[in-house]
Amino acid sequence: MAIHIVDRRLNPGSKSLENRQRFLRRAKALVQGAVKKSSQERDIKDVLEGGEVSVPIDGMDEPRFRREGGTRDMVLPGNKKFIEGDVLPRPSGGSGKGGRQAGEGDSEDTFRFVLSREEFVDLFLDDLELPDLAKRKLAEVESQGIRRAGYSTSGSPANISISRTVSRALARRVALRRPRPEALAELEAELENCSEARRVEILAEIEALKSKIKRIPFIDPIDIRYRRFETVPKPVAQAVMFCLMDVSGSMTEHMKDLAKRFYMLLYVFLKRRYRHVEIVFIRHTDRAEEVDEQTFFYGPASGGTLVSSALQAMHDIVRTRFRPADWNIYAAQASDGDNSYADGEVTGRLLTDMILPVSQFFAYLEVGQEHGLSYEMPNSALWTLYEGLRANGAPLSMRKVNERSEIFPVFHDLFQRRGPQERTA
């Protein structure tokens, strides 16, 4: 009979994708708030895992005419001992007047759902933007690159595209019916032993073929194609991130942990923006060295504190390995703020003359004791120094943090879209 069975399993799924996007767009402010909150609660490593968020339902509900209260009549199944005329005490929770039954109306005041990793990251980083990106945008496309752009009929011999040329030649030969050498050889073989009449015929034919072969060359100049190249502005798709950290004895584990979280967040952000991100770890006491990540965070070190040594090391590395024209340079420095007094001037000069001109962004994070209050921290030597530089117009971002939970807001502050008045400032 006419029963139609269709296999729909291979049809593209996620028909609701667009509706979902609309929903997220509409709930953007709410979801973003929820994402921010949930990312503060988790470890930074998991920040980009996506997952469940909850948004308050009253922002997203769809109102309907609903009734509540009044006298209610209901018929229920499962009577055990009631008889007509019994009066049952009201359940204590329902306060008499229109006490809602479970399952009626909106019992939940939040609405939980799962965000995919991409959605989460998008929302997480959406309203962040690196400072002065606009200014640097032109610089980003400065370098030129060469890109293949099809074929042309002229060019240098080095750029002849053999395969394209040969295939065009073949097509032409086939189209013009150029005799194949085998056909010629066959006739010549036949010539060896055949009758006289046939011989004349064959000779004429061989002649004709030969002249045709001559007229139709194996490769004609019109077959030749050259590979064509175009120069295009190439965006600088790579960034290097310098992590500078004071590892002298005064830095506690807690402070290092704060710094680490900040670096991670910075890394995540750069990773999203650039195809290729390198990280250079420079730790310093009174002298600086480039180390791997493990040593950077956990290796033991002791000594005094000379911030200039780290800046000098960074400058040397930039000069030898990361040409500012090819790399976007980001630097984040974490320290408890100690610096030897005599070093201040050198540090200042290095920073303003060498580091800042080549960096897209330089952030200074002053980490404090756990349970301390950031606004109670006395201004440290380094803070005072940088503050002075910033007052003179150096593009520095600086913040103080004490608690893990403060990291994200700080990061957020640092990278927040600048208001127009701030941008011109």
């Binding site: 009979m1 006419a2 029963i3 139609h4 069975i5 269709v6 296999d7 729909r8 399993r9 049809n11 799924g13 996620s14 028909k15 609701s16 667009e18 509706n19 979902r20 996007q21 609309r22 929903f23 767009r25 509409r26 709930a27 997203m60 769809e62 109102p63 309907r64 005419f65 609903r66 009734r67 509540e68 209260g69 009044g70 006298t71 209610r72 009549d73 209901m74 018929v75 229920l76 199944p77 499962g78 009577n79 055990k80 009631f82 008889i83 007509e84 005329g85 019994d86 009066v87 049952l88 005490p89 009201r90 008499g96 007047k97 229109g98 399952g103 109306g105 609405f111 759902f113 799962v114």
Partner: protein, 515 residues
């Protein structure tokens, strides 16, 4: 048991498309020859769990216009599905011709048989024969109409901007439950003609556009002041309980495309209207049909005993009715109540007792159970079905009782009737009333428009049994209503004696006019 093993439809749990075909044929044979069901042509589609979730979020329809609220439902359902709070339905069936049933690929062969019998024959027969569906839905046209609606909404978004369309749809959705005609009009719905009409009207508007019309002097305003109230109300078709219809026809400043969107939402609400009135009957019919078909297949030796036991287990879960004090209780299970009533009718017709002769003189002992049932399926809805056919025996079986909860009565909740001789009729009346749409939805009507004055739209909610509208929601719905009407809107809540209990006023935001 018959010996021929090749009679078996399948063995074990696995199935392929050939098996499905055999199952369909076997079910069809029983359904047509024995139960004499009259169904739309069937189309069976096998889908994945993800596609099932997709279908959930657009109210089960295979295609639907885009709106954020469907995305919200999807996100919500997906979250609860992933957490394991919610299982998915085994099938979804669509009231269309051909009747489309979606089957989940995870189902075992037994489940597929059950689901095909349930949806493709049970629901299908009900859709095709029940008077409400005949009156209010157009199974032939619905898929084309949905396709049209989807295209039209997308087209509007392109032309008038996504936000403007979204606002209009938000407002229309808020009023959806009051966009239904409850009484049949002159002609039945023809959705295909509907689509053509919309297209023609658009084409005409574009063809007839002439900028000169703007410059034609309009003359002094019509002296509407002299129209007396009665005449005005008659001209506007007042009182009108179909708010969406009223807005579509009379809202002064809506754009033509906004009217068309209201019309689309209204038609879709209307399409679902019979379903909300026949939950018990629809599920009862489908469950009864699958129970009959599965039993017959087993008798014919086309299902193994093992498969039949698997079926019985699912069936028992489906028709389980928790008692009121059970944690799982959330009202009457329409499958349980419907199935029990169908079986009870079969018993009354074939094997009545003295009590049944007294209560159901028309059908008791008549002998032809399927004939009576087919007649019931065609001519009743939940409310009338229960008030006609709920038997005392079933009330005893379910041990039903009636509670009357008057908040004014401090002493507590009164047990008004139980399953005894004195209570049967009251119980039945009260239960039927629980399914009466007249009681389920708030009774809100447009009563008047102040045409001479500030064009205020006046609504009235007739309060029944003291249940007033919840304030926060009402304010927001009225806001939507005012945006569409683009002048002030007032809503008065009054009880049946006319005493005013509460009054709301909403002022339009500028967006409807700007949109």
């Amino acid at each position: 048991m018959m010996s021929a093993t090749d009679q078996l439809l399948f063995r074990g749990a696995d199935w392929d498309f050939h098996t499905l075909q055999r199952i369909c044929d076997a079910c069809e044979q029983v359904a047509k020859d024995e139960l004499k069901l009259d169904v739309y042509p069937n189309q069976i589609e096998v889908i994945t769990a993800e596609q099932m979730l997709d279908a959930y979020s657009s109210v089960g329809m295979p295609l639907f216009y885009k709106h954020w609220s469907f995305g919200k439902h999807f996100a919500f359902q997906e979250a609860s599905y992933r957490k394991g709070l919610m299982g998915l339905a085994y099938e979804i069936v669509i009231n269309s011709s051909p009747c489309i049933s979606y089957l989940m690929e995870e189902n075992t062969a037994t489940m597929q048989t059950l689901v095909i019998a349930h949806a493709a024959f049970g629901h299908n027969h009900f859709f095709k024969n029940n008077y409400l569906f005949k009156q209010w839905t157009d199974a032939d046209g619905i898929l084309d109409y949905l396709e049209f609606a989807k295209r039209y909404v997308a087209h509007c978004e392109e032309r008038h901007g996504r936000l403007a369309v979204e606002h209009t749809l938000d407002a229309a959705h808020a009023l959806m439950s009051h966009g239904i005609d409850r009484y049949p009009g002159k002609k039945s719905l023809d959705l295909r003609a509907e689509e053509k009409r919309a297209g023609r009207r658009r084409a005409h508007e574009e063809a007839a556009f002439n900028d000169l019309w703007r410059t034609v002097p309009t003359g002094p305003a019509k002296t509407s002041a002299i129209l007396d109230v009665e005449r005005r109300r008659q001209m506007l078709g007042l009182p009108q309980e179909n708010l969406l219809y009223f807005l579509e026809k009379t809202a002064p400043r809506l754009r033509p495309w906004q009217r068309e969107i209201l019309r689309i939402v209204r038609h879709i609400a209307q399409y679902f209207y019979p379903q909300s009135q026949t939950k018990v009957m629809n599920e009862g019919t489908a469950t009864y049909v699958h129970y009959r078909i599965m039993n017959r297949l087993h008798q014919q030796g086309r299902l193994t005993d093992g498969n039949f036991l698997e079926f019985l287990q699912s069936h028992t879960n489906v028709v389980f009715q928790p008692e009121f004090d059970d944690q799982r209780y959330s009202g009457f299970n329409p499958y349980a109540l419907g199935f029990a009533m169908m079986q009870d009718i079969e018993r009354i017709v074939t094997d009545p007792e003295a009590e049944d002769h007294e209560w159901f003189p028309d059908i008791a002992g008549k002998g032809d159970a399927m004939g009576v049932l087919r007649d019931v399926w065609a001519n009743y809805r939940d409310e009338s079905f229960i008030s006609q056919f709920l038997s005392p025996r079933l009330m005893r079986q379910f041990r039903m009782f009636h509670l009357h909860d008057d908040p004014e009565d401090r002493s507590g909740i009164l047990v008004d009737a139980i399953h005894n001789e004195r209570g049967y009729r009251r119980l039945r009346r009260e239960l039927a009333r629980q399914y009466d749409v007249g009681y389920i939805d708030a009774n809100i009507e447009v009563v008047d428009v102040d045409l001479a004055g500030d064009r205020r739209l006046m609504l009235r909610h007739t309060v029944v049994k003291g249940a007033q509208l919840s304030e926060a929601d009402t304010k927001r719905v009225l806001q939507h209503l005012a945006d569409l009407w683009s002048y002030d809107v007032s809503l008065v809540e009054s009880d049946t004696s006319g005493t005013v209990l509460k009054e709301y006023v909403a002022h339009p935001r500028s967006l409807a006019a700007a949109a």
